[in-house]
Symmetry: C2
Subunit: 473 residues, 2 copies
């Protein structure tokens, strides 16, 4: 019978002499980073972190594990994607879903009311992974946030400047940073006759406008969110608008919207933001886009999202659909949710979508056939004859102690050819060769791998010579 | 009744008008890193990583999550400390317990037979935390491992060299690296009449010799592990020995031990190891110690552990009991456990106990009252009069674009005193002051915070001047 198949196949395997072979994989939606990938990621993260440091942020770190209740009620629809730990006695735990909620918890717990911090770390979402587009269940977030009560729009403008700097530095191609404000959106919904309880669902629906045409969004509003066709049409007139300072002025004059208090506040701040961005010289890449809504519940003011513009990219064989590569916004209420008295700490922040950028760079690297070095070794300590292991060990030890990055083959009597080949494969630029004659003469033969040039260097000058040749000072 | 206390106190809270206040804590055995701690940790990790790179290791990364079955059966007694994830559908997952088993899984999965890698990342153990001694449930491991079939003891010697370099670099005070070999221990057990099935339990008991006197270890062997008093006494004669090359020679002549094949192999390799360590010039800190056993099941050859020596440390008010700060060994069978055909890849590696070192440095820092800078900001862009926000924004934007690390206060009209005070608090060395006169003259007033010296610098030379003053090139 069919029911016997399991045990039977186990019997077959057992008869074949094998136990169940070990399953060799990483969990769904996660991956290992081989050395070339780890090196590329290090390069990328260091570009992002140096921008955060340029803007005066301090690093903090929080645990990957949080109490479950810390995460509950902060993510709206996202909550179902939270990884929970098994109850093994003690506290109920979960893996962090982003770095923003732990930051808010950190501020409230330590009663900090002012802070500029960055945090680069992994977060976890039981999402449907689309790994080819750089969407994973375990992924890095690179967050920069400014907490504190300040004059309006100055920190917000800095967050946009940071996005602009990072995307420019990384040379990812043309991009646009869409900007909107939750207060403007809420104002639009209000003047179009949407009840306040429907603001968040309406927001989520509008957010799809970057992927599907207005007609589809409209039907979802009417059929699923229960808005009247008239309300939907009125919303449609607003949310399809995008532009710059001119559009802000136009909406400030809009007979309906200008009557709405929160919309007016949002528009006033948007105008101020554009003034600051003009001073920063970056408005060329900024679009005030009323369709931008952002998924997360906790935003209360300015929101933004950077997208790469599709282009004829010679580097890529098939153009990658990437979506947003950075996003963020203002969340003035989140810290207050952790305070027993609800004391608020206004915050604005940006998160760089490092995984998506990583997959672009990874594909580009593959296409270019450039080989990325995975180690930094400056010199291989080699021998030309047999029985020189002890001399190699003595020399390499001197080099390590002088701070030189050095390797040797772990063989007693390696062939010179194999040693030179190892340098070619791994990109080591220099070989320090010990031989009987060199030992007698008190020199080391230094070979430059790229040119095959060889020079005898006095042993006491070797460290200095290696430093100069690898231009490390 | 007593049983009402819970609900009653909830009623009281409800009557007081409050919901249950949010619990503000990190999970048991975990902690946040505030900026000063994060900066100290970054300094420490970078010292460790630069040593790993000096020895030619490439970085890899593996997920925090592993399939539960990947971890099962690898840790012996440790298995009960593994964090498991809740079954939310799909694969059964766990948090990694160390970086060694994921490394072995990575090698087997990718059929890699040769690799030198480092990995710095967090691991998880549901252990009883002793946070004052640097023992946490979430903690960093810094691992360096060499996989591959090589001539004996050359990679093993390099691992010990690495421990020596790192502990010397960090100036933690005097230390000793204890070395032993599982084969020697097994030989000792065999010649003392311990049945092979009891080798691992006997190992675990011997391992306690660094904490309790021999008499206690002996009673545990007899009372709990079922060894005969005679066998225990014979073991005692061996495991209380420690020394150097002389002890190795003595044991190689030992009438019983020299007849045991694995012990002889182990002793021969130990002799070779000491020869290599002599060439590295580090035998002064190495002790061949027969009581060293190490807890983990997977070791098969050389094992080692570095301990700091207690000293009159002026830095510490109460001397910290720290235990081992680095450890490792050879595990030739682990990769084979992941291979369907059991193909082995010999490995040897070292793990730096970064958390314990961190708590020493943290205490030392506190005691010294040295203030560690948490940001790298070079200059504060400030204004001397009101209505200069726009000018500050323009100037800071120029500085950021030139790669200068710059901050400004997020206020429209900050007082000069407050701006200067911010520099004192955060250690910013320079202030670039814009004022009406300076704007007219095309200069910026550069103030050196430490000396209060002020110089006018032409705007076009400002970037260069800041670079020189902060000696960044």
């Amino acid at each position: 019978p069919v029911g016997d198949r399991g045990p039977l196949s186990r019997q077959v395997r057992a008869a074949a002499g094998g136990e169940r072979p070990p399953v060799l994989k990483t969990p769904k939606g996660t991956r290992d980073h081989a050395p070339a990938q780890a090196a590329l990621r290090e390069r990328l993260l260091s570009a992002v972190v140096s921008c955060f440091k340029r803007h005066g942020a301090a690093a903090i770190d929080t645990p990957v594990l949080e109490l479950r209740e810390t995460l509950v009620g902060k993510y709206g629809e996202g909550a179902k994607l939270i990884y929970e730990l098994k109850d093994q006695g003690g506290e109920l735990l979960a893996l962090r879903y982003d770095l923003t909620v732990p930051f808010a918890r950190y501020l409230a717990m330590n009663k900090i009311t002012k802070m500029k911090r960055y945090h680069v770390a992994k977060v976890y979402r039981r999402d449907n992974p689309a790994t080819t587009r750089g969407r994973y269940r375990e992924f890095y977030q690179c967050d920069f946030d400014i907490a504190g009560q300040f004059d309006p729009m100055i920190p917000d403008a800095e967050c946009l400047k940071i996005v602009h700097e990072i995307l420019s530095d990384l040379q990812l191609g043309d991009f646009v940073i869409k900007v909107n404000d939750r207060r403007i959106l809420n104002g639009v919904f209000a003047v179009c006759g949407v009840p306040e309880s429907q603001f968040i669902p309406a927001c989520c629906t509008v957010d799809k406008l970057d992927k599907v045409p207005w007609e589809e969004v409209r039907s979802e509003m009417v059929a699923e969110k229960g808005l009247s066709p008239e309300a939907a049409d009125r919303i449609g007139e607003y949310v399809q608008l995008h532009g710059g300072l001119d559009l802000i002025e136009q909406l400030l004059q809009d007979p309906k919207l200008s009557q709405n208090k929160v919309a007016k506040e949002g528009l006033g701040d948007m105008k101020l933001l554009f003034e600051y961005l003009t001073l920063f010289g970056i408005t060329g890449k900024i679009s005030f886009d009323l369709s931008l809504a952002r998924g997360l519940d906790y935003y209360t003011g300015v929101i933004f999202e950077a997208v790469l513009l599709q282009q004829d990219n010679k580097h890529l064989e098939e153009p990658l659909s990437i979506g947003s590569v950075a996003g963020g916004g203002r969340y003035d209420g989140l810290v207050g949710m952790f305070d027993a008295k609800g004391r608020k700490v206004p915050c604005v922040g940006v998160s760089i979508g490092i995984e998506r950028i990583f997959s672009i760079l990874e594909q580009r690297l593959e296409a270019s056939e450039e080989k990325i070095r995975t180690t930094e070794t400056q010199v291989l300590v080699a021998s030309a004859q047999k029985k020189l292991l002890e001399e190699r060990l003595k020399l390499i030890s001197e080099l390590w102690d002088a701070g030189i990055k050095a390797e040797m083959l772990y063989k007693k009597n390696p062939k010179l050819l194999n040693q030179l080949q190892y340098c070619e494969e791994t990109g080591i630029p220099l070989v320090a060769i010990v031989g009987e004659q060199e030992l007698k003469d008190g020199v080391v033969k230094l070979r430059i791998v790229a040119t095959r040039e060889e020079v005898n260097v006095r042993r006491e000058s070797l460290v200095e010579e290696i430093r100069i040749r690898t231009s490390q000072c």
